[in-house]
Amino acid sequence: MWTEKYRPKTFSEIKGQEQIVSRVKAFVEKNEMPHLMFTGPAGVGKTTLSLIVARELFGEDWEHSFLELNASDERGIDVIRVKVKDFARTKSIRDTPFKIIYLDECDSLTKEAQQALRRTMENYSRTCRFILSCNYSSKIIDPIQSRCTVFRFKPLEKENILEIIGTICEKEGLKIEEEAVYSIFELSNGDARKAENILQGCAAITDVITNQVVYGIVSAAEPAEIKLILNMCVKGNFIKARDLLLDTMSKHGLSGLDIIKQIQREVLSLEIDANKKMDMIERCGEIEFRMVEGSDEFVQLESLIAGFSK
């Protein structure tokens, strides 16, 4: 996958985030580093920078001194604690002043888990440095923030994304229309991973990428069924809407919450009376609340669209 193939391997290859990169580089050059916290949206270089830090600090067999964990996958702080403990305990082959533990998606940790994490950070701070990564620093408790140097990543600038696209197209021998490049940027919202995935999706179909191809890929990846379902509802066709809803959920493996989020977004762009729109939004909120409280997501969704269809 291109997202890995074209992931920057050195500080100089990173596009954007210049200030952050130069400060982090300074740590590496001094061979000394505090705990770090990288916050910012997806696909802007948080993981990439962490990997580069490890490579620069530890050289070739950096993987022995670098532990990558994902807070949203490693169920529960206990799993994390055990892994951290095992990792911190063993001495690495190379003589490095410390090891690095990279903990991604920290936002998904509960407050209690974060308290536990804080203890873990303290316990192993003599031998390990933590790099925590999250989308929103506001979701991280103050005691952890105060132990870290916080870096706020921004969405990549237009020129950064254009540069990335340009480089890849050149190396892969692709032709791309200028308009298509801009479209990819617009659709990516400054997320390099998404931009590269769109680009590779296009390249899988054709060597000459036009605007049309780009939109084709994106709309196929972001299903349009929800809009269809809502339109069926508005026309009062509950049964059809429900059947399509069930099909969509099972085909794409979507959860009830995924669906209701999409419905809420789509309602805003429906072509109906503003008052009715707000009624629907209110209903969305109520049903989302019940979904969190209840146990059968589909019953809740049925109730939602039954309300839209009446």
Partner: protein
Amino acid sequence: MIWADKHSPQKLNEVVGDKPPLLKLQDFILNYQRFRKKAMIIHGPTGTGKTSSIYAIAKENNLEVIEVNSSDVRNKKGILETFGDSLDQMSLFKKGKIFLFDDIDGLSGTKDRGGIQAIVSLLQKSAHPIVLTSNDLWNKKFSSLRSKAEIVEFKPLSHLEIQRVLEKICSEEDLEITKDVLKAISIKNEGDARAAITDLQSITIELNKISKEDIENLGYRERIESIFNLLQIIFKTKDIYAINQMTDSVNLSLDEIMLWIEENITNEYTGEEIFNAFEKLSKADVFRGRIRRNRHWRFLVYQKLLMGSGVAVSKKEKKRNFSKYSRPQRILKLWRSKMRYAKRKEISEKLAEQLHISSKKALREVIPYLKKIAKNKKYVEDLYLDEDQFNILSY
């Protein structure tokens, strides 16, 4: 005394149902020496008179019945102990003997080890007719038995035949019950005479006079209700009390019942009624969630009332049309897709490792594009997907 026993037939011609199988049974018992196969299997649903007819023949002809039924031990040893010695002995007080293995379906594979072989071995030696009864003759475990026995089938009884039985009992018990009441009981218990007799007895125990409504009440009290009856009363009436009672006597869990109700709302209701009904289901589900999370079982009351009676009062007027109810489809559908989904999860875990992201993110953000990217096979070579996983992607 249980009426089904008290009023069991004393003579073969009192047994209701098709005559030919009955005559064949009688012929076998009385003239078994003429038969090459030394045993007869009677099969048919419950309450069709399999056992009663054997006893009726025995009484009429002064024969002794030696019975092993599901309550006895029926492993090899038990069977040989019960039958072994008497196989070739004559009956002491009666003219002859019938060996009866009642309800052989109950022979379990493990506890009654060797039971079926033991029966087969007895067939060769017996000097008396052996009769076996079964509800499920075509079960694999009976294959060795089937080939060595005569087979007779008893068909389910029609409601008219059952009604004749009930009428006879009424006259013997000196009960005055109108014909349409008996008819209602018979229809309700179509095929099963024993259940009908039991129902008749239950209402007469508590009531001196019987009306049609009593029969409806009876059902909810005495029998395991079928889900169809419950759906009928939920969708056709607004009888909150009956619905609530009936929900308890359906032999399904509340969650299953809820699925049945959910599935059938659109078969009965239209427009605003659909919305009202789902609104109630939605609230019932919230209580269910609270029960699960907080172990607050008291909330079951609200779940039950909202999903049953709540849906019932969602209608504008009582429905009178005939409706067919369908079995819940959704769970099966979701289960099937879960199988596919599990595969996708497998892929996303693989991706997570290689792309430095969480598997959730891989599932949500990468897989939709990967499906497109995978159209060019060389682009996904570095992911080391196996063929199965690749096929899921291109699905």
